[in-house]
């Protein structure tokens, strides 16, 4: 069969005009699909930034507030005590997540996300690039996260002062986190009690309870016991999935991405399908001649499948490469550019390009199988 594939390859690539058009179609399609889905994956990842960065295994929250980290409904203190008393809980600590308006040194205002860590354990603290974690307990101490939004705080250094709801704040450390935030606001860490002192709060103040189980096998029991309290316990992965599902299915972002992906697929299908079909039609008499000479129908099918598959694979590679170059270039210019190429995206693009190749090949195969060698004699 290698000989037939070589013949198929020669017939395909020697028609440079058609081959180029085929590659442009598949490459463009893959590029758009990967570009769109990667942007969406980037948005989903950044939307779960706090969950990823804090890194707790189990998050306890009000069951009505699972869409975004910032949509939490504060819980009373007794819930913390109740969770701590559940068998299988190694430890449980409160977390505050809120937003505040900062007045920077130059007088401009900037909103920021404030995360309040449990004063005793500092559970969920970020990795420091500069400063000492103990300084978070110093008067008005805040730690700034050096992510894409960091410049919005005027690139603060240790000792930089600002006002937060008319309270003085001082940067005592610079931290890094695995994932930057989606919503375009810089992030500050401080202690739980300072956060609820500086930021106006309701009667209840605990945004989330971070739980560490004694063993993974305890997680289902903990979830059941938390549910009996009238609250919801989710693993970090479940919480991220919940946030993703919210963006996918309950906002226009998912619909738009899906729409653009489908359009990209259809663009690729129409360009590649039409060009490949034209390629087959133009070569139909040659396929008929091959059949007359003794080529079997299935050999011609293999020949066409190889041509469609080869085009798809080359186009796939070029499309992935082009998308990667563009995303990398965009990230150089726009650090906060939300785009992430995942294996799922690559798999989806591969699946769609296979469908494009199959549909294109199928149309060609139908025509080639229908041609009779007798037609070659009849002219």
């Amino acid at each position: 069969m290698k000989q037939i594939f070589t013949l198929a390859y020669k017939l395909l690539v020697s028609d440079r005009g058609k081959y180029t058009a085929l590659l442009v179609g598949t490459t463009f399609s893959v590029f758009l699909i990967v570009q769109m889905t990667s942007a969406f994956a980037g948005i989903l990842t950044k939307a779960s930034a706090t969950v990823i960065n804090v890194g707790a295994k189990i998050w306890v929250m009000d069951s009505a507030a699972t869409n975004t980290v910032f949509g939490s409904i504060p819980m009373p203190d007794y819930v913390l005590d109740a969770v701590r008393s559940i068998n299988g809980v190694k430890y449980a600590e409160p977390l505050y997540v809120g937003s505040a308006l900062l007045k920077l040194h130059d007088g401009t205002y900037q909103s920021a996300t404030v995360i309040g860590l449990d004063d005793t354990t500092l559970l969920g603290r970020p990795e420091l690039l500069e400063g000492n974690i103990d300084d978070i307990f110093a008067e008005n101490g805040f730690i700034a996260v050096k992510d894409e939004e960091f410049p919005k705080l005027e690139n603060p250094k240790i000792g930089t002062e600002f006002e937060l709801n008319d309270n003085r704040g001082v940067i005592v450390g610079i931290a890094k986190v695995p994932t930057g935030a989606l919503y375009g606001t810089p992030t500050l860490y401080t202690t739980y009690y300072r956060a609820i002192q500086y930021i106006p709060s309701m009667r209840f103040t605990i945004s989330y309870i971070l739980v560490a189980p004694k063993a993974d096998s305890d997680i289902p029991y903990i979830k059941r016991e938390v549910a009996r309290l009238g609250y919801l316990a989710m693993t970090s992965q479940e919480f991220q999935s919940g946030i993703s599902d919210y963006l996918k299915y309950k906002t226009g972002i998912g619909t738009n991405t899906l729409l653009m992906t489908v359009i990209s697929f259809l663009v690729g299908l129409s360009i590649t399908g039409q060009t490949f079909y034209t390629f087959i039609i133009e070569n139909l008499e040659h396929f008929g001649a091959l059949k007359a000479m003794g080529a079997k129908g299935r050999e011609l099918v293999y020949l066409i499948i190889f041509q469609a598959g080869f085009t798809a694979l080359v186009g796939y590679g070029l499309g992935i490469g082009l998308a990667t170059v563009l995303i990398s270039a965009a990230k150089l210019r726009l650090p906060e550019y939300a785009s992430r190429v995942t294996f799922t995206n690559l798999g989806l693009a591969f699946l769609l390009v296979l469908i494009i190749a199959s549909a294109s090949g199928y149309a060609g195969v139908r025509r080639v199988l229908k041609i009779e060698p007798f037609d070659i004699f009849r002219g």
């Binding site: 020669k10 017939l11 008499e285 040659h286 003794g294 079997k296 004699f377």
Partner: protein, 231 residues
């Protein structure tokens, strides 16, 4: 005996629309013979040619090639028969315009699953036979009509078939070139172990035939000894 056709009949359409293309055609062709099938358009020449070369299944009758009953074979075996036993030269040549001349000639060997290197070596030898060794690397579109015809002949003989089928070999050529080509086929390609069947309208090439079979309205109207035989 190379080919024995027995009461071959082929019709198209059914009921009132049924049209007979060939009716009870019986003939024999021998090894070392160059047999012409002639007749006006619509007389059934091409249909008969297709039936004896394993391309078109007859409605009745049989074809025996070197003692084998062709139409009793399976479709795959018939395809293999065409690939191994018959060399075709089509009226419009049907060369791949974007393959080189040598690659075009090598195609039957590629279909036989021979390696490309071996096929191209054999193709080069055949191009030498037809006098086009220096054109091996060119695409057929860069060749004249006569040269393309010779490439088609090289392709038809590259796999050493026992039977060669030519469909209107001079239709696309001027008179002089047509005569040269057929003369070349007669002198260089026809051997005692080979049978050549040519369908043609062109009376200018009749002089090279051993025998001429005339067809009319789907029936074999008669045989004539060719000029070559008389000579």
């Amino acid at each position: 005996m190379a080919i024995m056709a027995n009461k071959l009949t082929k019709w198209f359409g059914e009921g009132d629309a049924r049209t007979y293309a060939v009716r009870e055609a019986s003939f024999e062709a021998n090894w070392g013979e160059m047999l012409y099938i002639v007749g006006p358009s619509g007389s059934g020449k091409t249909t008969l040619l297709s039936m004896i070369s394993g391309i078109l299944r007859p409605n009745s009758g049989s074809v025996s090639i070197d003692g084998r009953n062709l139409w009793s074979l399976s479709d795959d075996d018939i395809a293999d028969f065409r690939l191994n036993t018959i060399g075709f030269v089509f009226q419009d040549f049907h060369l791949f315009p974007r393959l080189t001349t040598a690659e075009n000639v090598a195609v039957p060997l590629i279909l036989q699953k021979r390696s490309w290197q071996e096929a191209l070596r054999a193709a080069s030898r055949c191009l030498e036979i037809v006098g086009l060794a220096d054109k091996a690397a060119l695409p057929p579109t860069r060749l004249s009509g006569g040269e393309q015809q010779r490439v088609a002949i090289a392709r038809a003989i590259v796999h050493q078939p026992e039977i060669l089928i030519f469909d209107e070999p001079t239709a696309s050529l001027d008179g002089e070139t047509g005569r040269k080509i057929v003369s070349f086929v007669k002198s260089e390609i026809l051997t005692a172990e080979r049978c050549i069947i040519i369908v043609t309208h062109d009376s200018r090439i009749f002089e090279f035939s051993n025998r001429i079979m005339e067809m009319e309205d789907g029936r074999i109207a008669g045989f004539e000894q060719g000029v070559a035989c008389e000579a």
